[in-house]
Amino acid sequence: MDSIHDLGGKQGFGPVTVTEDEPAFPEAWEGRAYGLVQSVGDPGSTIDWFRHIVELMPPAAYLTEPYFQKWQYVQIIELIQAGKLSMDEVLSGQASKPGDPASKRSLEKVLAIIHDKNHSFERKIDAGPAFVLNQRVRTKRHMTAGHTRLPAYARDSLGDVIAHHGSHALPDAGARGEDVGEHLYTVRFTAAELWGDEANPNDDVTLDLWESYLVPA
């Protein structure tokens, strides 16, 4: 969808605030918010639906909410949609009905969960790839109200396939709760193709793009 999350190439943000090193969670609430999202969710959700909910935030909120607040929006929305929390509970902080205390997870258990999140997104499909290495391709306009991983700055642009990764779960479908495999490629675009004459001729940008985002050039 065409909202403010699609930031590539947008101008006016000023310099990057550079840090060399910083704690994992510079503010204490960030660690709590991260841990909550990892611990309480909707097992029926998908990574793509999670990202799409972030995209559905009002643009003003998207630009001003800290990173883990965006995750917290998603967590709250998923829990409300799953019927596990009500909006009244979220805004009042008052539980509608207390539950038995949850069991505690140890550090070792959490480290094991993180290790087990080594998910593969590969999905075997019967169809062979439509494109081959070094083939020139063009990205589609591909404008949708739904979720997609083709950024606006790379629409309708010419690039070259530099890698084929087999078929992976298509995010556009994942955000609708569907598990659909499609061939995935890394496509290289010259900086000049994307950004015009001001670009350095030695520079390029690569994107990982699904087959339905592409047509033969």
């Binding site: 550079v18 994992a24 660690g31 539950g99 505690k104 790379a154 350095n200 030695n202 520079d203 994107l207």
Partner: protein, 213 residues
Amino acid sequence: MATFDREDAAKLARHLHSHLPSDPALRTKTLESLLVERGFVAPETIDAWVEAYSEHIGPKRGAQVVARSWVDPAFRARLMDDATAAIAEFGFDGDATGHLKAVENTDTQHHLIVCTLCSCYPFSLLGMSPAWYKSAAYRARAVREPRQVLSEFGVDLPETVGVRVWDSTAELRYLVVPQRPANTDGWDEARLAALVTRNAMIGTARHLKTEAA
């Protein structure tokens, strides 16, 4: 179960934006209390998640991988061929590294990693991402004016060194392997790993410092 109802999700997001208190610490405390009272989570579990990424998982993992690639040509070959399998040799595979690709800087090529659409990052290899990586300024500008962004990090590249920016639009995650500094012949892996910074593994640093190592 998830509804995948986008109109409803957008409506809920607007309602939260209008009604949640502005202080993120207060919001988070309120939500944690609610989820604990409902019996969905124990506070000690959240402590464990914080400890995992504060004490155990961070960029030192990636630095060990880079250092080994400098001293062990067979490992380097495995890393470049299949980085997910290579980091599993250390037990560093995990959250968001199911499809990891390593890219090496050379005298004529510099690599820079970004996620313009969200903030994808190889958590189990590099830990929590830095604030700048998640910032609108970095996500917007890294693909369009990488040389200006790099100069803000103190990296001034000659015109002749190409910049390749990898926008993490799928579930592939990227590790930049910086060049081994000169004058480190004979250094062991641990001493070399101490030179490798988080920013170098994202591509916003290029020449690693050897003093004070």
